[in-house]
Amino acid sequence: MFERFKTTSCLAAIVCAGMASSAAAQEFPQQPVNLVVPFNAGGGTDLLIRGFAPAFAEALGGNVYVSNMAGGSGTVAAGSLAEEDPDGYRLGYWSMTVATVQPQIKDVPYDKDSWTPICSIAASPMILFTNAGSPFKTIDDAVEAVKDEPGRYLFGSSGPGAMTHLAAVAAFEGLGVLKDVRHLPFQGSGPALQAMAAGTIQFYADTEILMNSGDFRPLVVFAPERLESYPEVPTAAEAGIEPPLAELDLWGGLFAPHDLDPKIRDQLSEACGKAVASDEFQAFAERTATVLNYRDAESFDVFFRKQYDDNKVLIEAAGL
């Protein structure tokens, strides 16, 4: 009975090995490429990558599918991908927090050297906002009110160590009132926005698309220049936040495990550039108020390593 087993599995192995060797001679990609989103389906990152996947598939000339591996603020997906063979068929979309902040504040099995950066795709400015009905018209009003009544006001976040947390901390720390506001973490942006609408929390920082979903008033934006859509809202630097806190930048890009074949890397990076430039994805980005920022593999590698070191200062300043 077990003999029968053995023969079948041997036969299967031989047949498969034959198919594999003939496949290796052909070109990349031989099978669908998997883009891993390190957060739950339905979030901002998930949406961006699901919009990106069709354009990427076309540019690459193969199939592309998206999967979600949520958990540990994105570190579960990154930790799992870091240990895989770099074959180019599995890429992760890591945001700035997953790639550079989490490995420096948590005990995770990856770091700066675990990756072959492929390309950067987006950089969405974070906006600190309050309820439209709130008495704070500007960031100065808010700072004054916080100083008058220390401990009364709360800011929310989508979770400890998330970008929403980091941005609010950077703003209040930069304005010198972090000790006077309290932090209330939620599980995801949805519940936090509900709490904003209900008045449970007074401040929350997130991307423009999420801010637009409710009736909210922007106070300060983390960007080098003012946004076209909100010309009256000051940038972090204008509001008096010093660098490096003012330089908070929510970029995100594709990563493969380290030591990916440079030929495949360049092929992926090129396809990524074509996809970002495609009309289809450009229109998508415009509708979702996403700021696109493509870097090819080489310049993204340099940028990523510099960010990793620069953000050390940010993490310390934010007291994480």
Binding site: V36, N40, A41, G42, G43, D46, L47, R50, G51, A53, P54, S67, N68, M69, A70, G71, G72, S73, T75, V76, A77, G79, S80, K106, D107, V108, P109, L154, G159, P160, G161, R182, L184, P185, F186, Q187, G190, P191, L193, Q194, A195, A197, A198, T200, I209, N212, S213, G214, D215, F284, R287, T288
Partner: protein, 497 residues
Amino acid sequence: MLNTLPEALSIIFTLEGLLVLVLGTFLGIVLGALPGIGSTVAVAMVMPFTLTMGQAPAILLLLAIYAGSVYGGSVSAILINTPGTPQSAATCFDGFPMAQRGEAGLALGWATVASIIGGVVSAIVLILAAPTLAAFALNFGPIETFALVLLGLTCIVSVSEGSMLKGLIAGTIGLFLAVVGGDPITGEARFTFGQFQLLAGFDLLAVVIGVFAITEVLMRVSGPLDSSNRLTDFKGVVLPRFRDWSGRVKVLVKSVLIGNGIGILPGTGAATAAFISYAEAKRSSPNRAAFGRGEPDGIIASEAANNAVTGGALVPTMALGIPGDAVTAVMLATLTLHGITPGVRLMSDNPVLMGAIFTGFLLINLILLPLGMAVGKIAAPILRLPEAFMLVGIVLLSTVGVYFVRGNPFDLLVMVTAGIFGFILRRQGYPMAPLVIGMVLGPTLEISLRQGLILTNGSFGAFYAGHPIALVLGMITIVMLALPAVNRMRARQGADS
């Protein structure tokens, strides 16, 4: 809202509109019935296809998948004791015992009718009262949520009939399992014992499928098994006769209201609604004695409530532009992609589109009936295979389902370990349903408790003092806990005299 109806109907009754409704609902049922592919995964899978569609068909397709998958989850819960989604876990409690009795078709019939009524009523409530209800839902802060979840936990008492002590232990183990992983307030690792993978905690669905499906497989093979025997005798959905409804209408109405109400609230969800509704039915139904042994009222309570959540969850989404859960978040994103700004002005700015969406949602719930029957017909021959084959099928499908939750092989180990652990406990008479309830409610219980303590500066007393809604919920909780004891005392007194 109603004056835009003619225009709204002209959007739906096109070839594309109807095709989207029928195919979407059908696909939703099939995906929901596969263990592990819950509503969120199903909706996210389909989302990219909607980018090339018109505004109304895009949203209608997502709604069809959503409503279909919630119903589909009950199919596998009843037929193979494997909830396709956590929200149909409560459907297993009575659905599977009915199927074992040879009444699988009828159990599905009850589930179908209850689902449809739950969905239709919630659609009507959505159409008529969304803005008002959404405003009310904002009164639900962390403290009110805490009180509500505590009420949900009383469900553990009502589902652990065999041995109250063992039920409570299983429920508390569930609460503990939910604690493992990163702390929701500070992010620190808890009980991970250096295991990086545990930082994200145990995946809920991996544990649910482990203790229901894998444990069930182990229980079956450990007992004598006739290889010609069938797991369930199922020939298709059998609708309950009209007169069978007598005495059950009250349970239905209550369950729909509970599901709808909880669906509107932020951060609780369909599984909580199903559990609370089940507990309430068990407390008040005239047939309560038969609960857990295949009582249709239990199926009605669970299915009417979890389908009523669908419409409820859309209330804050459509009226405030704020997503209630991951599924509605995908819908809002899709609206944005089609150039519609979700938000407080969504309904007033797009009355025709909203009319079409709401009417479409009503239609989707109505076509669940024929489509559900069709899916039953397709599934029937597969389910007539010998039991040994079915058990292998359950193991393979469970593996597939858990793998798809987040593509993490570690979750498969969690599923198997939970299955073996569940088997050891179930052999000794520990019920598994409380464990799942504890695990579903645990995270919300903890974060709402600690958020509440942050808000009140650490005073638990202030929880009930300044919050009338929480106070009422707290009193209901006490009544729910005290009732069984009071009933027992009354029964004893009655026996004495």
